[in-house]
Symmetry: D2
Subunit: 190 residues, 4 copies
């Protein structure tokens, strides 16, 4: 799950913090009290007929220095619509020229429930309990990794589903990726 930077700018003072942003202390408190609302976006390239030809994955370094692949993911803020949160997180991770097609319908292809405890569902996030609405998002423009992302790579469904690639995904996002491919009818023969 994307390490959402709650403070993109260190000079960003409390007074000017927009509605929805929380202080680290507030965030810590809330995390233990209730599930957070999240979105997961699976960026895809489609052909003229809408068929998915590639999936986009972020590459970043974990705190322990390992390389990991990730979907675009992040929190829905107070007074923010789900579709605006999707757009914000995609632009945050892929840059302002990505030209994402945010889905017209709010119906997600699945709901990924990240629990702090492993084994309750297929998804884990040690930091908190998050209920994440997952969407396929076709992207037409140029993507460039932003913030703490080292790389953004387009992979075919077959490349994305190699054991090597799936092993680089964390918190059950490998499962979520396969669910996305199943939903678009492009799950490779594994």
């Amino acid at each position: 799950m994307t390490e959402t930077a709650e403070f993109p700018d260190p000079d960003f003072g409390d007074k000017t913090r927009p509605v929805g942003w929380l202080t680290p202390t507030q965030m810590d408190e809330v995390r233990g009290l209730m599930p957070l609302v999240y979105v997961d976006a699976v960026p895809v390239r489609v052909d003229e007929s809408g068929d998915v030809v590639q999936i986009g994955l972020l590459l970043r370094a974990t705190e322990s220095g390992h390389m990991m692949r990730a979907l675009v993911s992040g929190r829905v803020m107070y007074h923010e619509r789900v579709r605006d949160a999707l757009l914000r997180h995609i632009e945050k991770d892929l840059g302002p020229m990505a030209l994402p097609s945010i889905p017209a319908s709010p119906q997600p292809f699945t709901v990924a429930e990240y629990f702090p405890t492993p084994g309750v569902t297929s998804y884990v996030d040690e930091r908190h309990h998050a209920v994440s609405l997952a969407y396929i998002v076709p992207v037409r423009g140029d993507c460039s990794p932003q913030q703490n992302n080292l790389e953004f790579t387009w992979l075919t469904p077959e490349e994305a589903c190699t054991p090597q690639n799936l092993a680089q995904m964390q918190g059950g996002q490998d499962v979520l990726l396969k669910q996305a491919l199943a939903h678009v009818g492009r799950l490779p023969d594994m």
Copy 2:
């Protein structure tokens, strides 16, 4: 939206409060900080072919003494799965003999975003911002209104969509009801 009783038992002390329940003070604090995760359930009676023949609506009195119709609705708690929250709220409102068929898939038919400010979406909840996963739930057993519900009534899609009935629904649940009927292919000619 269902007035979720956070404390079903007034003698329920803090020490023995199960994981996920919040004190009124905690609840108030959290409500202004981030969106809550909710579920909305549309109870239905189906025939042998799965066709929806009736929709179940709760009747309750508002604080101002007006009568209102409502769907089953409530919060997802910390460390609770969406499907368990659905089951809990249905049993809370319809009683233990309702025999609901909780959907096998976590994919909701829509996501209703209740904002404290009217006009952002079709749904409003003055108390907070809630992101609600909405499901159709076939119910086979006997339903009896529980808690602050005065009545539970089965209506045909046509009866449910009369202007009189829709006017008794609050916070945009009339829209959600029509979305549910549209999803099952039973939206009446209005």
Copy 3:
């Protein structure tokens, strides 16, 4: 339902008829034997956040000289993928510059079952029994009515759902339009 021109070119001889096209005699025979596979497309304009701002409707004259509004609709041919049929029918009706975004997922928002007999479902087609997969299709380009369409008009959800406009739709496509708007969360308060 769109009057699918099975023969766009009257000089189109049998020898060069592509796979999937049927002679009128074959079509008549088949129509009484089994359901046809159809697609219905609801063309929409979306804003940056994916929110539907307009719906596109075709205007054409019926054989009796009445004006009717219609969605894009047509048959899936032998050995044609559903997504290719969607693209073909949109280009047939809206022209080659429409730039439709065919959905990545084959999951339709609903299935409209057109029966020759009224009353079985909400949809009727006197000519045959058709099982139609219905999709929302965002369109980014310039649309110009083609073939027997007199006009192609963009309407807001509110404009599309006026009784006047809905009354101009046939075979239950008014119901399908409302289902589409319900699915994208833009069903007007009626």
Copy 4:
């Protein structure tokens, strides 16, 4: 794909053949002209919270004497609703005591397009082109294999997804099974 017996009773004459049934000659003719409408049902056992705990698979012998596992599958007939076809095929394969819960919504979890030519999609049916609406169907009753089915077995998602079991499925139904499990959030770690 289920070998649909178009004539369950060899003595079933033409005069009394119900609407929708075709003679073998008619069936052969139609098969080369246009796609057939099919349904695929994935029978599941669910727990109280709707979570899928088992998937039901049919065992039958192919013409060449091999054993194969199959989902419930079959044609939608002329003037038959999709939901009635689902019910008919489930009762045909699992017997009259299966007590299936046919979905309230006509929205399938996916559309499987079986082509006579391999490679166009993930699904193949040498006999014809079929567009199949695929549904998850919870089954509460007792299932007993009917007709040419030798056995009906309940498997956990993990058992169903072993390479051995998947290799026994034909025409891409192994892919469809994994798509079904992905949709209900129970795709095993493979």
